[in-house]
Symmetry: C2
Subunit: 717 residues, 2 copies
């Protein structure tokens, strides 16, 4: 099935190509009782337009709602492309076995009661997996809500699909976000291409789905609801590839205590900390959103409209409040609202009331002639080369008429139909405009589908929202994707392991790693550290200090001591032999016989931290942030998954909120970012080369003469 | 009209009591053309149920839609309680004059074209104000959309009101948020008590409206859309009073770049307008929201439901995803989801499927029996003493049936009515439950008003949202108000001016304030500074250093030099006579003849900053934040309006993100918060006492022995 598609997408052997487009389905769990879940799903398949063969299995009933049923799996005339199981949990293994025996290669397990309920369910799930492996069956679920493919069509969920096929595809760890939202999205003009409820992901997971949807030519934007990514490394690889051609939007909710707890009992998901997902999404080029509403509004916008090709937005409105609110959201998201040229303003002024504004926002104020907003002005704005996208607030027609009808009818006895007709706006021009000008338009008005104008936008696929902030937010999603597509991406840098590092790890570091050894390893990766000499006694410390040059720092150096500063085992800025000698004596009084580390005193005001963290279920992460003793409180840090490319490292550096410090701050000179990026890339390499090292904490890294120098280093094995 | 109401609310002479409840209205600008704004407003008044007298003025028409019209204002049989003007701008002054002459005392000016369009309009507006003053007329507008009082009823806007009277009142600087949202709020079960579009606020402003609504017994929650508060000091006073009894929610959107730039110099930029509003709202006990949607959802929730009396929330759901999303929002907002007691869990378990969770969230998973969610379980949960509020996701009935109808009908030939009937849930129990148990319930499901269950919640005033995150966010609004009502508030501390401070200001500080003088003033307010001596030459510097005790800091001290560190005019940690002498020589080489300030070297690792900023249109603000040379980048600071109470000061200190540093951080000992609070209160006093001092910047304030000591101080006159 390997074939080349548009834009060089290679279609893989991904099992979802068959699962999402089977030509025959056998369902176990449907009956003639319409209030049962399996029956509802069966009815949705049969009456939802599926053109392939549907073969229900039922021990007693011969016909299920007009379709021939089979008593046993082995009675089936052919092996179905897809087996669908909606039966009590304990029956699943034997049925999988039977489907395997007749040669079925794809399954969908709806039933719950597996690893999400604890030990026993976990065992059962393992059993199912092993049966599937034996027969080469690939399956979605268990504990899921099924699949939707509007282009086939096929809908295996309990909720009927009302719409024509669309271009938004959803992957969800919650079945609800596939099956309960069908009315919600219909009411907002959003149409599925595909939707997949992945459940416990015992076999097929989010990553498989992402790969499949990346290859699916009918999918234009992908949304993912995530409680946990089980294969983050593969996710990163696949997502990086997919976002080159289509936008991916994700909501992750497992990042705090409450969310993680709730997710565990839901799909047995082990959630990771929020910052890891931030880093992962950033690195992958996935747009992170905070709510399910945003998943749908963002994918709808990204999937329907021409892409934004710059950051210049115009606002057209009949009301100042919504325009100000939209402007505020645009500003927060890095978009600009340029003042229109004098020429363009003159043209606009000739059309609008005297007290109205032509600058941008173009604000008509209260105005009864809708054609200005639906044709003349949008065309003028979008056809100019001054703006890249347009937000409009206030196009409304029959919604308003409906509302006003009782009053109008009482006053002038107009019939409702006539009033509605009177108010129905001609939208022909604006409905074509985004595609004619190849620029996005997003609409806001306070009406819902009771308004003809709103419905027309819904039908045409022009995103239309019921609040100005949402429209502006949707525009910012287009901008985020513009930035992602224009991001420079370099190759991942994975060096070979330095011989010397291996030697140190096998010798000095064999039983734990002290600060001196840690820095020795760093130096084999060309990471700059302060100059330092390890000595045993105060006499040699004085000699070492002379070699290094005053002032110096003296520390205890031992694998056992973790918090040296708090234990008074660090003396800084020592300027004379006497000071060094005295400091060494004091240290060795507290930490008996501890070796002494004599270090160059690095002076600089800017302190950063970098490190490696390993989180269960994740590849090693490289962390970067503000350093010093207050690092924990400021907590201004970010992560990327190792190994890093140089562009990952640059992006990591710029991800911290106070990255301004790295510039020519207060005349300190700009930090050598290339050096810092190389340091982070090297850290990523160490993490990959030495899985034994559980954690690395370089804090502080002090900037001296614009270069980063590691001053303290903690390795934990 | 001064009378005592419930809860000790004193009713004032606020003109809105009459404006919102007139017994007669004269409107100028209505005609027999129904497409004119004035006519629409007239029709809304007449057909919206207003029971008082309506007297249109029209030069030619004798009858306007069945109502007798008058040719001139002076022809009116009585002076109307309220004059309403919807006429070309230039006619307003003469008409105000005429209404004044016949004795009308209240007006509503809808017409636009005043100060919002520039100089000429500004002049006209001034003229209107002066006429109003002459006749004692109080008025709303100009450039507004009118008023709504559903309890009278009276609706002067262009949009008809569809609903019964409610308890949410809105004050808006955008007419749209009063007139265009009527269908929007109707569709969501939100009902106005009052709504006021304030327009240009030439006379009556937000603050008057807030006072009025505070006194209005029919208003239970107040929402404000703000682009600018014209009387912040009064706003603070009134809001503080109002929030004791009813919640106030505000959206402020004026904090954009352009707005922030104007009127702010140098460190004024540190306190951008957005910060000021954050501080003002925090101090006033006003809940800040980000969108118009939140204004409505928050006021609806706060106005309708019993108040939250703690932070323990239960989630009841038939779907894990929404539960996880809700849990995540609760957590972010400081709410808790306690695991239910074993006893309660046992009771729940006996009712729900085996694989379902009883912990919290209580997750039924897919379940067809709605009565568990609409009666048994909510009652059990709310009647327990284990939780304070309940979130429910997944109650839905006919919306689902409508959606499923085509499939059901194809399969079993059921009629639509029968299916709808079959699915209609009995909600009697849950609809009473919040008031029976005196605890809030908030609902989430993906259906809108097409669902009978959703509509029932709307009608009853139980907030019901179309996304789980919104429901959880609404619950957090109840919690925010709980915290506001339980906040300790102490009296504002405004001392008398120290004699010594007056003396310094009149003598040393007469032509500008150098660092030494600045700190002298601080000390008169009992603010601790480093010990310091001002000298003229290096010789005296050495003597001074001996007096203070080594190590010392030497700085140039001059009104002219603002950035001493960058100019190399500060030498720290000097330990010997020679070092001091040499430093002084170097300083006086750069800053010729500058006096020298010899200061005690304060040692401490925690650095804060405090200051005073004056922003146009605002009372002075006291600022507090993280100090040191990176203060600008971390930008972790907050403000309060001066003068401060001690509780304001405590709240200010705790407002910064990294307030953890003030605790016993890394064994540094907890900062003496009382001392820090006193310092901030004193700063507020200085700001009030000396309006001449434009700006104060104390940075750093170093913590030594747990006490704050001001080390550097900049006063700008």
């Amino acid at each position: 099935m390997n074939q080349k598609l548009d834009k060089g997408i290679i279609m893989t052997q991904n099992p979802l190509h068959k699962i999402m487009s089977p030509s025959s389905i056998s369902i176990v769990g449907a009956s003639n009782n319409p209030m049962k879940m399996g029956t509802m799903q069966f009815l949705n398949i049969v009456h939802g337009g599926f053109k392939g063969k549907v073969m229900p299995i039922h021990p007693k009933e011969k016909i299920i709602f007009g379709i021939e049923a089979f008593a046993n799996i082995k009675d089936l005339p052919v092996a179905p492309d897809l087996a669908m199981l909606v039966v009590p949990t304990h029956l699943i293994p034997s049925m999988m076995e039977e489907f395997g025996q007749i040669g079925t290669k794809h399954a969908l397990i709806i039933s719950a009661g597996f690893k999400e309920v604890g030990k026993e369910g976990e065992e059962l799930e393992k059993q199912v997996i092993s049966i599937a492996r034996k027969y080469g069956i690939r399956f979605v679920g268990p504990n899921c809500m099924g699949l939707i493919n509007t282009h086939l069509p096929l809908n295996t969920t309990v909720g009927p699909v009302q719409d024509l096929c669309g271009n938004v595809s959803i992957i969800s760890q919650s079945g609800t976000y596939v099956a309960q939202v069908l009315s919600y999205i219909h009411n907002r003009g959003i149409r599925f291409s595909k939707a997949i409820s992945v459940g416990n992901e015992a076999d097929i997971d989010i990553v498989d789905c992402l790969e499949y949807l990346g290859e699916d030519t009918e999918t234009k934007a992908i949304g993912i609801y995530i409680e946990c990514i089980r294969r983050p490394e593969k996710f990163l690889e696949i997502a990086r590839n997919v976002v080159k051609n289509k936008p991916v939007v994700a909501q992750y909710v497992g990042g705090n205590k409450a969310g993680a707890k709730s997710g565990l009992s839901h799909t047995g998901a082990l959630a990771g900390p929020d910052y890891i997902y931030d880093g992962l999404f950033e690195q992958a080029g996935v747009i992170r959103v905070k709510t399910i509403e945003e998943i749908y509004s963002a994918t709808h916008t990204l999937g329907s409209l021409p892409r934004l090709k710059g950051k210049r937005i115009a606002i057209l409105t009949n009301s100042g409040g919504p325009a100000t609110a939209m402007a505020s959201v645009l500003d927060e998201n890095g978009l600009e609202m340029p003042e229109l040229s004098i020429d363009l303003q003159e043209k606009i002024k000739s059309l609008i009331p005297g007290h109205a504004s032509s600058k941008n926002p173009v604000d008509l104020t209260f105005h009864m002639d809708m054609s200005l907003m639906t044709d003349t002005l949008p065309t003028m704005l979008l056809e100019s080369d001054e703006i890249d996208g347009l937000l409009i607030h206030g196009i409304m027609d029959t919604g308003w008429a409906e509302l006003a009808f009782p009053v109008f009818s009482a006053a002038i006895g107009l019939k409702k139909e006539d009033l509605i007709k009177l108010f129905t706006t001609n939208l022909n021009a604006i409905l074509e405009l985004p595609w004619k000008t190849n620029k996005p338009i997003i609409i806001s008005s306070f009406f819902d589908k009771e308004d003809h104008a709103k419905c027309s936008f819904y039908e045409k696929g022009i995103p239309a929202f019921n609040a100005p902030e949402k429209a502006a937010k949707a525009m910012s999603m287009l901008y985020k994707y513009y930035l992602i597509q224009n991001k420079e991406i370099s190759k991942i840098e994975l060096s070979s392991i330095p011989e010397r590092a291996i030697a140190i790890m096998n010798k000095e570091a064999i039983n734990g790693i002290d600060e001196y050894t840690a820095k020795s390893i760093l130096r084999t990766y060309n990471i700059s550290t302060c100059k330092e000499i390890l000595v045993k006694n105060p006499q040699n410390a004085v000699l070492a200090s002379k070699t290094i040059g005053y002032p110096v720092v003296v520390k205890a150096c031992s694998k056992e001591i973790k918090h040296k500063t708090e234990a008074k085992l660090v003396h800084i800025n020592l300027k004379t032999d006497e000071e060094v000698f005295e400091a060494c004596v004091k240290i060795q009084k507290i930490a008996k016989n501890s070796p002494l580390l004599i270090c160059e005193m690095i002076k600089g005001e800017r302190e950063f931290m970098a490190g490696i963290a390993r989180v269960q279920g994740f590849p090693p992460c490289v962390m970067f942030g503000i350093g010093g003793i207050f690092a924990e409180v400021f907590c201004d840090r970010a992560i990327r998954i190792a190994p890093l490319s140089l562009s990952d490292a640059y992006s990591l550096i710029h991800s911290i909120k106070s990255h301004e410090i790295l510039g020519n701050y207060r005349g300190m000179g700009a930090v050598d970012i290339y050096e810092m990026a190389k340091l982070l890339v090297a850290l990523g390499n160490i993490a990959v080369h030495f899985p034994d090292i559980k954690e690395i904490d370089l804090n502080p890294i002090i900037i001296q003469n614009r270069k980063p120098i590691v001053v303290d280093s903690l390795f934990i094995k």
